[in-house]
């Protein structure tokens, strides 16, 4: 195969419609007679519902229907949770609260009206009699003795306990020269895709078909779940994901509104649309992170890390969403990072509190792991007064150690951590950075240099290790005109599969990317698939595409060889022709070979007509991208402001289909991390009110907050798939926070500070640098 397109920075096929406003997200869709739904949500974090009076709302102008939890009791099953942990307690989220609300924003009633303003107005006419209960907000207090359980029938607020241990931990701590202990908090975040969620449903009674348009990352899984929740035949449910305006894990889920809007469309026989407001998105779409990690590390004086022990409190919120309990366990699997640490143990306590559920937010458990282990390496360096680079280098597995088995039971596929580190140090000119830092410190200026050498687990994943299947599907169909349709189960939301998969199709079949059309996000057209998350679209979805392309190519080679009188093995696909290697005369245009498959008069004996292949690709392992990020910050001692000065990112995601898109993923991921490090924090007050409930109060990184990101790559292909690609969607987010945190801690080292919890807001930083209003030194 000649690679004219794979590996090249092709402009995206998706973009012309997006830059002209011609694409359609859910709220852009309008159907004749469409009605609008709006949800009334609890203003209390914890309360009993004594009664819900919908009578005034039902009489309001334009209102068609108003329902409470009692009205739909039994008609819709609770939100599904696919993750199962042994002995985990029940915590299913009802689609509408019935007797009790357990977080601010929990839906209590729904109104359907002729337009969105009327629906919203009617919410104000609903009278709910609440009996407020004491909210449980702090996860440590939630599991303290005497705390009242949130859920009936539970004896406490422990949702589950999960343990993982590998290696001889006792021996590690016995052999240690020193043991370092630290509490590391990974704060709760609100993911904020710029498009909120939205659902449109339409039911045609005559046809019996239920159509649901949803802004989701998982159209097929959603179809199955809607069918189950409504007890509706799955074959008659069609889920369509039009353009999706960002997901970051929030749309890798199943929400009450998706089932309720579908239910309403069936009940009313009319299309019903609901578009989430930003406030609803903050309150009632999944949150991310929220772990308290108490870590102990056993080390030798030379910087060798012998063992790691960590107790984690994971604040799950009030209910389980699709994958809630699974997320912190990924932190456990990845806790030893890219180091040869022979023994490790993690104990996780999942805790119910009166908050929105946490679930998969970009990185999902792995940013927490990287943050944990990278902070640990920095603390080791500080304790031993060694350079953080040296401590990392000392504990790396070497390229010859791969595949590398971790004490947590994973097999890292391939890696050369030293190489990425060396390249990053070279680009940053690390030695010079340290010299400059020393010079500036003498001038009373506080710069800090942070280093993160990360590895992450992605390409999710083998089905044996996934809650609901880890394979992916792809159908390649060459149409009679010679145009190629690729149906992928990896339903994208900004990743650019329409371009990368077309690049693959073009190279493998020797045609132009313009001839290849990617079809996704429609369960009636695309074979059952899993979806886009866990940096899996290229590694798993792309491999399914690759395999289907190969099958189609083999058939075409047989047809072409038959037409020109040669051997299928000798056929070369290039420049829109299929030619025999031995003679340029023995050549047939691509379209003619395709046509032969459909006209079916000149096919080789016993060959079936048609030209289509489907693959369900099951990966044998996860993939493990890695890299080194180096960050330089300067802290303004007067106001505690942390300014990014430099950012160098060297990432290794294996082979690359489109370097432009890889770069976009890396940069975007890093900036999302900058958000966590510097600004973002979901804050619930003692009453369980989400006081960062809007973009007015929850700061996302802006263009003006960033410095230029210098990116580079090393290439260590994975043996897990034939493309050698690992995945890159989450790497930036996973790799970056520790670099930022390391830089801030390094800048504050002259003040005796070695660890600060995120976010690094001005007041917090200023306090660390001052005592009684005076700068400490």
């Amino acid at each position: 195969m000649t690679t004219r397109f794979i590996g090249k920075p092709l402009k995206r096929k998706e973009d012309p419609r997006l830059i002209q406003g011609l694409s359609h997200y859910v709220d852009d869709l309008n159907l004749a007679g469409m009605l609008y739904a709006a949800f009334l949500r609890s203003p209390y974090a914890h309360a009993n519902i004594r009664s819900v009076d919908l009578s005034k709302a039902r009489r309001a102008s334009g209102v068609v229907l108003a329902l409470s939890g009692a009205d739909i009791d039994g008609a819709i099953q609770p939100v599904p949770c696919a993750a199962q942990i042994p002995d985990m307690k029940s915590g299913a989220r009802p689609v509408l609260a019935r007797d009790r609300v357990r977080f601010v924003g929990e839906a209590v009633a729904v109104v359907v009206a002729s337009d969105r303003y009327a629906a919203r107005d009617a919410l104000d006419l609903i009278e709910v009699d609440y009996e407020p209960l004491t909210p449980i907000v702090n996860p440590e207090k939630a599991i303290a003795k005497g705390a009242a359980p949130l859920h009936a029938g539970h004896k406490d607020n422990v949702a589950f306990k999960w343990e993982l241990e590998g290696g001889d931990l006792k021996a590690a701590f016995k052999a240690a020269d020193k043991v370092i202990k630290q509490r590391i908090v990974n704060q709760r975040l609100i993911p904020v895709p710029i498009e909120t969620r939205g659902v449109l449903a339409d039911y045609q009674p005559g046809e019996g078909q239920l159509k649901v348009w949803s802004s989701t990352q998982i159209p097929h899984l959603l179809r199955t779940q809607i069918a189950s929740m409504l007890n509706f035949p799955e074959t008659l449910v069609r889920v369509v994901t039009p353009e999706v305006g960002g997901g970051f894990g929030t749309k890798l889920n199943v929400y009450p509104e998706e089932a309720i809007v579908a239910y309403l469309a069936i009940q009313l026989g009319k299309p019903v649309k609901w578009t989430e407001s930003r406030r609803e998105n903050f309150q009632a779409t999944i949150h991310g992170r929220d772990q308290i990690d108490d870590v102990e590390v056993a080390i030798k004086r030379d910087g060798t890390v012998l063992g790691l022990r960590c107790r984690v409190i994971a604040d799950l919120g009030a209910y389980y969403q699709l994958l809630t309990p699974l997320i912190p366990t990924l932190t456990g699997l990845m806790m030893t990072g890219c180091y040869k640490i022979p023994a490790a143990r993690m104990e996780i306590t999942g805790v119910f509190t009166n908050k929105m559920a946490t679930d998969a937010y970009r990185g999902a458990g792995r940013p927490e792991a990287t943050y944990l282990i990278e902070r640990v390496m920095d603390l080791v360096a500080a304790e031993l007064k060694k350079d953080p680079v040296e401590v990392r280098r000392k504990n790396f597995p070497q390229p010859k150690d791969f595949p590398y088995a971790t004490p947590t039971g994973l097999i890292y596929d391939s890696g050369d951590y030293q190489k990425a580190l060396d390249l990053a140090l070279k680009i940053a000119d690390y030695k010079k950075l340290r010299q400059e830092q020393a010079k500036l410190r003498k001038e009373g200026r506080y710069t800090g240099i942070g280093i993160s050498t990360y590895v992450e687990i992605c390409g999710m994943g083998p089905s044996s290790a996934m809650p609901a299947g880890g394979w992916e599907s792809a159908t390649v169909r060459v149409e009679p005109t010679g145009r190629v349709s690729i149906m992928t189960g990896s339903s994208p939301h900004g990743q650019g599969q329409e371009t990368t998969f077309a690049q693959m199709g073009a190279d493998i079949l020797g045609i132009d990317p313009e001839q290849v059309q990617i079809v996704h996000g429609d369960t009636s057209i695309v074979p059952y698939g899993i979806g886009t998350f866990g940096s899996r679209a290229t590694a798993v979805g792309g491999t399914a595409v690759y395999k289907s392309l190969q099958k189609v190519k083999e058939k075409l080679a047989r047809i072409a060889a038959h037409l020109v009188g040669s051997d299928p093995e000798r056929m070369v696909f290039a420049d829109g022709k299929i030619s025999a290697r031995e003679s340029p005369k023995k050549s047939v245009p691509f379209g003619q070979a395709v046509s032969a498959a459909y006209v079916a008069k000149t096919l080789p004996a016993e060959m079936e007509p048609g030209l289509e292949a489907t693959t369900f690709f099951e990966p044998t392992n996860f993939t493990y991208p890695f890299g080194t990020h180096i960050c330089v910050v300067e802290i303004d001692a007067e106001i505690g402001d942390v300014k990014l000065v430099r950012y160098v990112a060297v990432d290794d995601c294996g082979n690359v289909i489109n370097p432009l898109l890889v770069e976009g993923q890396v940069q975007g991921g890093i900036v999302q991390s900058v958000g966590q490090a510097l600004f973002e924090e979901a804050v619930y007050d003692e009453q369980g009110q989400l006081i960062t409930g809007e973009l007015m109060d929850y700061a996302l990184p802006r263009a003006s907050d960033m410095c230029w990101i210098e990116t580079a790559r090393t290439v260590t292909p994975t043996p897990v798939n034939p493309l050698g690609v690992k995945g890159v969607g989450e790497a930036g987010t996973i790799g970056a926070t520790p670099a930022l945190a390391g830089a801030v801690a390094d800048a504050l080292a002259p003040f005796g500070v070695h660890h600060v919890d995120m976010p690094f807001k001005r007041e917090k930083i200023w306090q660390l640098m001052h005592k009684d209003g005076r700068r400490v030194q």
């Binding site: 920075p9 995206r12 973009d15 002209q20 406003g21 353009e243 975007g668």
Partner: protein, 180 residues
């Protein structure tokens, strides 16, 4: 209330509720769904359109406030877009230099913030022919993007500036009009 305004060069006259937001007027009444809603509080800028040539956030403007004005949405930015469908939705027009820049430099991923981001960039390049990196960052700080990390957007705007300057070499308009 009755409002009259031009949208993408086309005159419109409508009866609207006084509380109707401009963005809902554009999207729900005129069917111009290229303008998006991201936050309803003027923070994210997904709803940015040009009103009388200046970038405004249409989620916190009432339709009545735009009466008498000239609105440009993303659908009206490509050069001959008015020739497209009846509502001024873009078709096969020549892309504006900023649109082209976003395509060339991979300035978008999910595309949701993009129309607002593009119009904010158009506004900037009307005011400043050759903005430097920090001026671009500052001018776009009222528009949030959660996907790209902004860097390719900066490059897209730089690409557009270069292209626009090459097309119109150094000729300042004598009658400066109302453009700031």
């Amino acid at each position: 209330m009755e409002i009259q305004l031009r949208v993408n060069g086309k005159p419109h006259q409508s009866q609207v509720e006084p509380r109707l937001l401009l963005v809902h007027y554009l999207r729900d009444v005129l069917g111009l769904t290229g303008t998006h809603i991201g936050c309803e509080t003027s923070i994210c800028g997904a709803c940015t359109v040009l009103l009388d040539g200046k970038a405004v956030k249409s989620c916190t403007l009432l339709a009545v406030q735009a009466s008498g004005g000239e609105v440009t949405t993303i659908e009206g930015l490509a050069s001959n877009s008015q020739k497209g469908s009846g509502n001024g939705a873009a078709g096969n027009g020549a892309l504006h230099a900023v649109q082209e820049g976003f395509w060339e430099k991979h300035g978008l991923q999910c595309g949701y913030c993009t129309p607002g981001m593009i119009l904010a960039a158009v506004d900037l390049l009307q005011r400043k022919k050759n903005p430097n990196e920090s001026e671009i960052r500052s001018a776009l700080s009222g528009n949030l993007c959660r996907c790209t990390g902004y860097q390719h957007i900066i490059e897209a705007v730089q690409y557009a500036a270069k292209k626009m300057n090459a097309r119109k070499p150094l000729k300042m308009s004598a009658s400066s009009g109302r453009t700031p």
